[in-house]
Each structure stands twice: as C-alpha cells, then as structure tokens.
C-alpha cells in the first residue's frame, strides 16, 4: 500500500494558502473601497491610521489585481 502523503500535503498547503489569501485580499479591497463612501475610516479616536478615498481605491485595485493574478495563475497551471 502506497499512500502519497507528499501530494496530500501539497493539496492541503496550497489550498489553505490560496483560499485564505484570496479571501483576505478581497476583504482588504472592500475596506479600501469603503473609504470612498466614508472617507477617514479609523481616525484619531480609535488609533488606526486614516484612509483617504484615493488611497483606499488604490489599495482595492492592487488587492483585486493580486486576486486575479492568483486565480489566473492557478487555472493556467491546471490547464497547461
């Protein structure tokens, strides 16, 4: 009996990293986007740095581009 632990481990690691990172990046993008609706999330009262509309949009764009890159690369590896 030959159980391929290396492949199983690879599946576990890759899918954990991809799943969690993608969701985290999308969450960050949403935080960025919400600065457009309500600029200055955070602020002096709660200690978090303020986020302006422009910076928020930039963060969202970068994060979403990263998500597209991760998903696209994954599909490319499978299809190729």
């Amino acid at each position: 009996m030959n159980i391929d632990w290396a492949s199983l481990g690879e599946v576990a690691l890759v899918s954990f990293a991809a799943g969690v990172v993608v969701v985290f990046l999308v969450s960050l993008a949403i935080v960025g986007l919400s600065a457009r609706v309500r600029p200055g999330v955070g602020g002096p009262e709660d200690g978090a740095p303020t986020l302006g509309a422009g910076a928020g949009t930039a963060i969202a764009v970068v994060c979403l581009a990263a998500v597209v890159a991760i998903v696209g690369y994954g599909l490319y590896i499978i299809a190729a």
């Binding site: 492949s7 935080v31 919400s34 599909l75």
Partner: protein, 379 residues
C-alpha cells in the same frame, strides 16, 4: 455486434449518471449565492451549467485515476460497469429526493466496486488505490475545506469590521458571483472527469481503446454537456438544505466558503485525487458558519449528512453488486436490470412531485419543507 450494443448502453447510462451528478451538485456551487441573494436562482443555475461545460475541458487527471487503477480493467466487462452505474444513479436519486448532499463520486466508486466484487472477485479491485486516491482524500478534504473556510471567514469579518456596512455587503456579493462561478468551474473539472473516466474505462474493457488511454474528445464534450444540463435543471432540494438549513449564511461567509471549496477542489483534481465536490462544499459551508459564530451551525443537519456520507459508498456498492449479479445471467438479466432501474427512477421522480422544491420556493424554509405542506389547522 452484441459487444458494441452494450458499449452504447453503458455510454448512455454513464451520461445519465453524469446528468444526475449535475443536478445533485448544483447546490455545491450555487447554494450560498442563492441563499444570500447574490444571484437570482435561475441565473445562478445557468452560470453554473455553462461553467461546468467549460470546466470539463480543463483537465483529465481525475479521469485517468478512474480509468486506470481503481479496478483491474483486464478482468471486467462493460456489463459490470453498467451495473455499477445503475447503483450510483439510484443512490444519487434517492439522496436527492431526501435533499441530502451526498457524494455523487462515492456513489460512482461504490457502484463500480460492488459490481466488480461480484463479477470478478476481490482480486479485481485495487484496494490500495481506492484507499489512497479515494477514501483518504474523502476523509481529509471536507475537514480541510472546513478549516480553510473557518479561518477565511474569521479573517473576512475581522478585516472588514470597521468598514462601511453597505460597501461590505455589496463587495462580498460581487465577490460571491466570482467565487460561485469558480466553484462551478471546479465542479465541471472534477466531476465531469469522473464520467469521462468511466466511459474511457468502458471503451478500454471493450477493446476500443488501448489500456491507460486518456479520454477522447467526444467523451470530454459529451460528459461536459450532460453534467452542464443536469446542473442547469437544478437540484433545488439540496440547494435548500445547504443554503438554508445548515446555517444562516451571510455574504462574507458565502464568499469564504466558495473560495475554500474552489481552492481544495482545483488543487486536488490537478493532482488526480478524485474527491467529492459535495463533501468539500459542505465542509466549507460548515466552516464558514462556525467562523462567524459556532452556535449558528445546525449540527443536527450535520449529523444527518454524516450518516448519508458513510452510507453512500457501501449502499451504492450493494445496489451495484445486485445489478451485476442479475446482469451476469445474460442479456435478459441486463435488460431486466435496466427496466427495474428506469422504474425506480420514475417512482422517485413521481415522489418528488408531491412536494416539489423549485426556483421559486427554494429559499422559503419553515424550517422543514414537510411542515409547510401539512393542512392548516381550522381555526
């Protein structure tokens, strides 16, 4: 002549199984999107159906696992595969009637293993491959998907805790459309390949293809279309179970669950593990439910599912074994098996019409479908 007739029958039966696989598993991709309102039910099943077909063309690794390795193709005939498929189809229909998200893949493997055991003996089943490529991933994958979804959900809620509420809802809704589409794509890749594997195996046992061949193009196309059509018709019963009865799912959870499901399925099908899309998706939904609040998950529903999961492989194996025994008596036996299977399938369909679950009532839960249909108590 006789040989090619049985091959055609098996191919048609395999595509019928593929079709049941599609509508049994629409829920995996679309249950949470429909439940959160990210997609309208009809639109959701259309997207899922189309992406299933696309996904079928992505990879053939799982098809190879099935057509070379699980059972010894030198020792079985197309009739054995036919019997195995009958076992898988009947179990799929029964669990669909009950609204249970059981694994179409395990039904398929169970049916095939049961039929092979009866027809060719234990020596023809490669139990090592069954354990390492099917059983072990089946145990690990839902837990893994659940953990990923749990961590991802927790992160999603923590990260967006102070963001604008409206933007969070809209953002994750948009995200869900993308992630649900990816699950549908992954489902096409993973599950359409199982039927491709079976048809390829049949062609190998009939001597049409050489051993260890990959699936020909028409097999990939037919499998993709059959599963896509099944998905489009929609398994509303199972969608209701997964979308509404496991936990109240919010958009960030739906997104996290779907992202986890996609990640697990795509990585494992790339490495040839034939795991159950259903079990992975279900594991993710439980994980996402627990990631927000442990108590929000209806663990009794989890219990019902766990029982259906454990029963699936052996139950389909028993049906497959009986069918193989009957079919081995000759052409008459095979015809009888086919007729009985069609009759049972028709009966299950008729039973489902008594309490139909459709695109229009899929999200109404009070908490059990059965409750709402009891006659109103006169005032």
């Amino acid at each position: 002549m006789d040989l090619s007739l049985i091959v055609i029958v098996v191919v048609v039966t395999a595509l019928a199984f593929d079709f049941t696989n599609g509508f049994h598993d629409t829920a995996n991709a679309m249950a949470t999107s429909i439940a959160t309102g990210a997609l309208k039910p009809k639109v959701a099943v259309l997207i899922a159906g189309v992406l299933n077909v696309v996904g079928a063309f992505l990879s053939v690794e799982v098809a190879k696992t099935i057509s070379s390795g699980l059972v010894d193709e030198a020792q079985i005939s197309p009739v054995v595969i036919f019997a195995g498929l009958i076992g898988a189809i009947l179990w799929n229909l029964l669990t669909w009637l009950l609204g249970l998200p059981s694994s179409s893949s395990h039904a398929l493997f169970g049916g095939l293993i049961g039929a092979t055991l009866v027809a060719a003996g234990a020596g023809a089943v490669n139990f090592g491959a069954v354990l390492s490529k099917v059983i072990l991933p089946a145990v690990i994958s839902p837990v893994l998907a659940g953990i990923i979804a749990l961590v991802a959900t927790y992160l999603a809620y923590r990260t967006t805790a102070r963001a604008d509420d409206g933007t969070v809802k809209k953002g994750f809704k948009a995200g869900q459309i993308g992630s649900a589409s990816m699950v549908a794509l992954a489902h096409g890749t993973s599950d359409a390949q199982k039927t491709m594997g079976i048809i390829t195996l049949t062609l190998i046992t009939a001597g049409v293809l050489a051993p260890n061949s990959g699936p020909p193009f028409w097999v990939i196309l037919a499998s993709g279309l059959a599963i896509g059509l099944g998905t489009y018709l929609g398994g509303w019963r199972i969608i209701r179970t997964l979308g509404k009865r496991v936990s109240e799912i919010e958009t960030p959870q739906g997104f996290a669950a779907e992202a986890s499901t996609t990640a697990v399925i795509l990585t494992s099908s790339h490495l040839g593990f034939a795991l159950s899309t259903t079990q992975v998706a279900t594991g993710s939904i439980f994980g996402a439910g627990a990631g927000r609040r442990l108590a929000a998950v209806r663990w009794s529903v989890a219990g019902q599912m766990a029982i259906a999961w454990i029963l699936t492989l052996p139950a389909a194996a028993v049906v497959g074994a009986v069918a193989a025994w009957a079919a081995s008596t000759g052409v008459v036996g095979t015809v009888i098996v086919a007729l009985v299977a069609i009759a049972v399938a028709a009966g299950i369909y008729a039973a489902s019409r008594r309490r139909p679950v459709t695109a229009d009532n899929v999200n109404d839960v009070g908490d059990d479908a059965a409750v709402r249909h009891e006659p109103a108590v006169p005032a």
